[in-house]
Symmetry: none
Subunit: 406 residues, 2 copies
């Protein structure tokens, strides 16, 4: 009988040796009895999410881990953010991440409009009334964030950002990166869109109120991260799987939604350091019988890597390990634990260092690794594999693979 | 001077830990002094025939091991079966595996026509006289088996099976999997073919005789496994090799024949458990000077994996190891021993678990592995390689490689 499959993504778990930790990585330094037990009973290795030395984003990393070729389906972050906030997007549409910003006398003074919290729904309504001569939809999201979707035909995704990523200057005009008709058309529309957002937002009652109470007006929308919505065969079709994702951040949710997965929303799963790890573990436990395959992303490791906080990363790892206890008695399941990329505290950003990986389940060829970490993994029976191999290996182990040939 | 190359494929040798064997695999449990001697003197690793977790068939597996990309040249089993029984097939033709079956009042009562042994040549003659309005050839093979080749232009290979793979119902109409002109044309022809086989076979004297003696008539031909004959550059051309294959089963012979290899027929090499291992070893020995490269497939391991018989698998491994003694004194040769896929007794089918591989020959970078099995291989100097690497590695070692670049 086929078993179920769980892939736990410890976002940014992989690290580099840290001088202050006697040359150990945070994961090597942390006390992780549960991870080590799974490593000891399982098979271990290291995993290049995309390829050795290639630095994955969370989006491209999860795409690879779900078996998609990011070089084929990824042209920008926009579509994944759009799907992540629940928008129905269709292949060929162009999506942008956006910020509400503040512009005064032609110069940006705040790229986040004072992290505006209220009134963006009304502002979005006004924006959607703009007559652009082209079909579009703008959707506000959390705080100053939003998503713009261009829906017409013959649009390109390879255009530069309107958002200049700094203040004190004007916004940029989007320009085609590759000079062709499609990219030109997109650039023209998005530039016109930006110009008109200033027109309709500047005198909007919400903004008048903001100015009166001393807050920066949200009087421009700044698109960035253009991408074409990809054609992705859902996992139900290309792997025959009923599958679901648990993730705190919209970007990862969006990748999983575009892979046709259900999204399991867990109260308290925030994608932050305050995320409710116990709730996540219990959410996995209560849903794993419902699904052939669940992927769960825990983000905190990555945040602490970005901030270079090795002690806090150790602490968060140990906290995770404690909560992992809730899953230790699961039966009839293959569990993989790995990262979507490394986020070394020495780099304070993503890196292409491979992530450790363990696979636990009844019929794995158990090896003699007894610890889950970057260097123990190199001695394991899995060797060095690719992110795009992970799901196939898991499905094969769980007797859910399909033979290619006769 | 260049050495000769031998690749021994122990079909389905790889396995998973078996509870009843104290968590060892059959290969780990078996006493294999000859394999272990070659492992000790050689270099070892594990090998993913196609890619980690991908479950190869015997056909796609051997294609990869001969350096072909199965995703490029494999559309179905038919052409390899056709070539395997010695038919001359040409790129673009569509080939099907077929069974003689028994149909009564529109319902299949036997998918193998009582495993008919005699008279199929005459039945095939009648079938080949059918006026189909399209060029075709039907060739009977062992017992109830046969092959159908459609020879016209503009034919597609992506059609469903006529053979319903069960009895008590009618046969299926072949349908295009992808709806295009080419597949439609193939489906129409093969459906018409099936219908007409019932017409010409039902009153055939051979079948009247069978009915009179209480045997089920062979009164329908059931095509399945459609595939387009691929364009494959022969090994003589793309690797400059005079090469030959030894194999018990037509499918593997067919892959090798389409790779332009000679087929060495060895009396007693059956592809079954009764195969004459000594004759195979002696056949290799007496032919290895004639050929730059020989590949030999021994099937028994796979059969016992399919049946879940771990004790018998151990015994067959030990029997093979004993006969391997005949090759231990070969000189000026590089020998690789591996599988085309795993067939774990716990899975009772093919799996994507990597196969162990050893390479033995004068100039290999000998490692410290001293046993040939799934887990010892993971500690070896070869690491984890792909099936498509194997022949290149062997040719390079044997000083038969060609430099790419200057």
């Amino acid at each position: 009988m086929a078993d179920n499959v769980l892939i736990l993504i410890l976002d940014g778990i992989g690290d580099r040796p840290v001088k202050e930790l006697d040359g150990k990585t945070p994961l090597e330094k942390a006390k992780t009895p549960n991870l080590d037990k799974l490593a000891e009973e399982g098979i271990n290795g290291i995993m290049d999410t995309i390829a050795p030395g290639i630095i994955p984003g969370s989006d491209t990393g999860h795409l690879a881990l779900l078996g998609y070729d990011p070089y084929e389906v990824y042209t920008g972050r926009g579509p994944y953010e759009a799907a992540g906030i629940g928008l129905e997007v269709k292949p060929g549409q162009i999506a942008f991440r956006c910020n509400f910003g503040t512009i005064e006398d032609g110069k940006l003074t705040d790229r986040r409009a004072g992290r505006i919290k209220e009134g963006t729904e009304e502002l979005a309504e006004a924006v959607n009334d703009i007559d652009l001569g082209a079909e579009f939809h703008f959707q506000e999201a959390v705080e100053h964030r939003g998503v713009l979707i261009l829906k017409g035909q013959g649009l390109g995704a390879d255009v530069t950002d309107v958002d200049p990523h700094e203040t004190g200057i004007s916004y940029h005009e989007a320009e085609p990166v590759v000079d062709n008709k499609e990219n030109k058309k997109t650039a023209e529309i998005v530039n016109e869109f930006t110009k008109k957002t200033v027109e309709v937002l500047s005198d909007h009652p919400i903004n008048k109120k903001r100015i009166n109470s001393g807050k920066p007006p949200a009087n421009i929308i700044l698109p960035r991260g253009a991408g074409a919505v990809p054609q992705m065969k859902p996992l139900s079709e290309n792997k025959g799987l009923k599958s679901a994702a648990i993730a705190g951040i919209p970007l990862v949710k969006g990748v999983c939604r575009l892979a046709g997965m259900d999204i399991i929303d867990i109260e308290g799963a925030t994608g932050g350091l305050d995320t409710d790890l116990e709730a996540i573990m219990k959410g996995i436990k209560s849903n794993i019988d419902e699904y052939d395959f669940i992927i769960a992303n825990i983000k905190g490791f990555d945040l602490l890597g970005h901030d270079g906080l090795y002690h806090d990363k150790i602490k968060f790892i140990e906290k995770f390990d404690g909560n992992l206890g809730h899953l230790m008695d699961l039966k009839n399941i293959y569990i993989a634990i790995t990262g979507d990329h490394s986020t070394p505290v020495t780099v304070k950003g993503h890196s292409g260092d491979p992530s450790p990986i363990l696979i636990h389940g009844e019929e794995v060829r158990q090896d003699d690794v007894i610890k889950f970490d970057e260097r123990s993994g190199t001695k394991g029976g899995l060797g060095r594999i690719y992110g795009s191999d992970v799901l196939n290996v898991m499905l094969d182990l769980a007797k859910r693979g399909e033979k290619f040939g006769a």
